[in-house]
């Protein structure tokens, strides 16, 4: 079988997962305590009005039929209406995608920018004080609460030094980037702890590998061996590690968006929970779950593209 054949077969395997996600999201809203119609109409509604709405939304049908309606609507991009914003959920989410996307992509880039030099330094100077200091950072960094780290960065870089805006999201792209620096740094500092730890371990393994020894035996300088032989090979597991942490990354972005008042999907979710805007909660959860599944698929693709030996 061709090594890219999984591009066709994998989505088929994902169908049960996507089906499960839809079932879970469906029951999430179904299990809200209290009558959803009374929630919609208020407590003073007449029984006739309740019955009418019930029929209109198909709430008097059996659960299975309701689920099929839900799927039908979903395939048409219909995720219900937001009670708070008085608009359909999907466009509402679409408006909020950009800050979240910038946050996630920016954090990953910044993570690599931090983790690659740190891991290289630790792996090359293994056992020295530098190595111990970097390993200390990776152990401690795992336990840094992102929301607190964000506030500390605000205190230092925004309040004391005045380098970055305290919160919000700018108008122009340049201003948006300026607003994104601290949020991305917040997520990246926490994530780079995990990445540095694993990257260091795989670098040490690669440094001792046969192909590195062979390259050295050819008389290649150590810096060349490291850059061209060790680094590319040790970065491959990192792709997987980032894929495993996509869920964590999205969760972190929810919290960080709240810290920096970024108008992203995470902030939308948190506000929706407070205002009991259940259709928005359902929509955002659904989109986040699908994004996780898709990103994992992309990570598989990248791994195969980066390493011809890998078969999925």
């Amino acid at each position: 079988m061709h090594r890219y054949a999984f591009i066709l077969t994998r989505p088929l395997q994902l169908i049960p997962v996507l089906f499960g996600i839809s079932v879970l999201c469906f029951f999430l809203v179904k299990s809200i305590p209290g009558d959803p119609v009374r929630l919609l109409l208020g407590t003073k509604s007449t029984p006739e009005a309740v019955a009418r709405i019930r029929a209109q939304y198909g709430l008097d049908e059996p659960l299975l039929t309701q689920y099929i309606y839900f799927l039908k609507n979903l395939s048409a991009g219909e995720m219900g209406h937001s009670l708070l914003y008085k608009m359909p959920v999907l466009p509402l989410i679409a408006e909020r995608v950009v800050p979240t996307l910038m946050l996630v992509v920016g954090s990953v880039l910044l993570t690599l920018l931090i983790a690659v030099p740190l891991a290289s330094l630790a792996a090359l100077k293994r056992g020295t004080a530098t190595d111990h200091a970097i390993r200390g950072f990776t152990t401690a960094g795992l336990g840094f609460p992102a929301f607190w780290l964000g506030i500390m960065l605000i205190i230092v870089f925004s309040v004391k030094l005045g380098l970055f805006p305290v919160a919000g999201f700018g108008e122009s792209w340049l201003s948006k980037l300026h607003h994104m620096v601290l949020p991305c740094l917040t997520v990246a500092l926490a994530l780079s702890a995990i990445v540095t730890r694993n990257l260091r371990a795989s670098m040490i393994a690669e440094l001792a590998s046969d192909h590195a020894t062979a390259a050295r035996a050819k008389g290649l300088p150590e810096s060349w061996v490291f850059r061209r032989h060790v680094l590319p090979n040790s970065l491959i597991p990192t792709i997987n590690l980032l894929a495993i942490n996509v869920g964590w990354l999205i969760g972190g972005s929810v919290v960080v968006e709240t810290v920096f008042s970024l108008p992203g999907m995470g902030q939308l979710l948190v506000r929706a929970i407070f205002t009991r805007d259940y259709m928005v909660v359902q929509g955002v959860t659904l989109v986040f779950a699908c994004a996780t599944v898709v990103l994992n698929f992309v990570a598989d693709l990248l791994t195969v593209a980066a390493d011809p030996r890998v078969k999925i």
Binding site: T285, F288, A289, T292
Partner: protein, 289 residues
């Protein structure tokens, strides 16, 4: 007992080992010391804390660190040190209870699925795939949205979401051990399935779960304080570190101490559990130092 373990019997040798040689033990001991320290602080909070953590004292509001208030006071004049001390009760409880329920549920379900095989296993693995497809925190928030915001909802949500990691871990181990000789021996003695599973197989694969649960505590404490920070977990005026950070965020330009110290407390507690996890992993030989 191995030679290495025998040589550890001497306290003096242990001390020297901790200083330079035995890094694995250093992790374990330092981690244990930090966690025991927090546990003592949590238990004896009413005797250690210099002030009441809840009562307002507006005359002393927003004071910086001083001899009277070593970590300063917040906008209601409450002593930050006392609140951090009382916060240890909630956050330690969140970490321990928050791991206990997923541990018990996940271990049981994973063991049953791995041992029973067949449709039970397939069904469980499908459910597991679905739960894992969701970002952890997002699914927890969604569940909390349906229940009421609060500590109980946090535990329920965590139990519903967190069990999957344990189930997967234990299932994989049970699958391996199921075919081993001592299980065949137990079966040939006519022992029942539950006795074999819970008395013979499970004790042999629990070490991995215990080590994982230690590093899981870190994630749970962070998740708990994050959710409380968002306002969906522990509710004010209870002294909880995430709540304190949320309350202090409005005062970062004037009173940095309100947010800084509770955060440091979280970092220190998480660091303790991380060290404990690393040390235990090395002791059980599950991870190379």
């Amino acid at each position: 007992m191995s030679v290495e373990a025998l040589s550890r019997g001497n306290w003096l040798a242990r001390g020297f080992g901790a200083l330079g040689l035995g890094r694995a033990n250093l992790n374990l001991r330092l981690g244990a010391a930090i966690i025991v320290g927090w546990a003592l602080i949590a238990v004896f909070a009413p005797w250690i804390a210099p002030y009441d953590p809840i009562t307002h004292n507006l005359a002393d509001k927003l004071q910086g660190p001083s001899l009277l208030h070593p970590l300063g006071t917040d906008n209601f004049g409450r002593d930050i040190l006392s609140r951090v001390i009382y916060g240890a009760r909630i956050d330690l409880q969140m970490g321990v209870l928050g791991v206990l329920f997923p541990f018990l549920i996940g271990t049981t379900l994973g063991a049953i699925a791995g041992y029973a095989g067949g449709w039970v296993d397939i069904l469980l693995m499908r459910i597991l795939d679905v739960v894992l497809a969701f970002p952890f925190l997002v699914l927890m928030l969604a569940i909390i949205a349906i229940l009421q915001p609060g500590l109980t909802s946090f535990y329920i949500a965590l139990a519903l979401v967190g069990w999957v990691s344990y189930a997967r871990l234990v299932r994989a181990q049970v699958l391996v051990l199921k075919t081993s000789d001592f299980v065949t021996a137990a079966r040939s003695l006519g022992f029942g399935r539950f006795r074999i599973l819970f008395r013979h197989i499970l004790p042999n694969c629990i070490a991995g779960s215990i080590v994982f649960s230690m590093s899981d505590v870190v994630l749970v404490v962070l998740a708990g304080s994050s959710i409380s920070y968002l306002g969906l977990g522990v509710q004010p005026p209870t002294a909880e570190w995430g709540v304190m950070i949320a309350e202090g965020q409005n005062f970062i330009t004037t009173a940095w101490w309100i947010t800084t110290f509770p955060g440091l407390a979280i970092v220190l507690m998480a660091f303790g559990f991380s060290l404990l996890a690393d040390g235990l992993a090395e002791r059980f030989g599950l991870r190379q130092p």
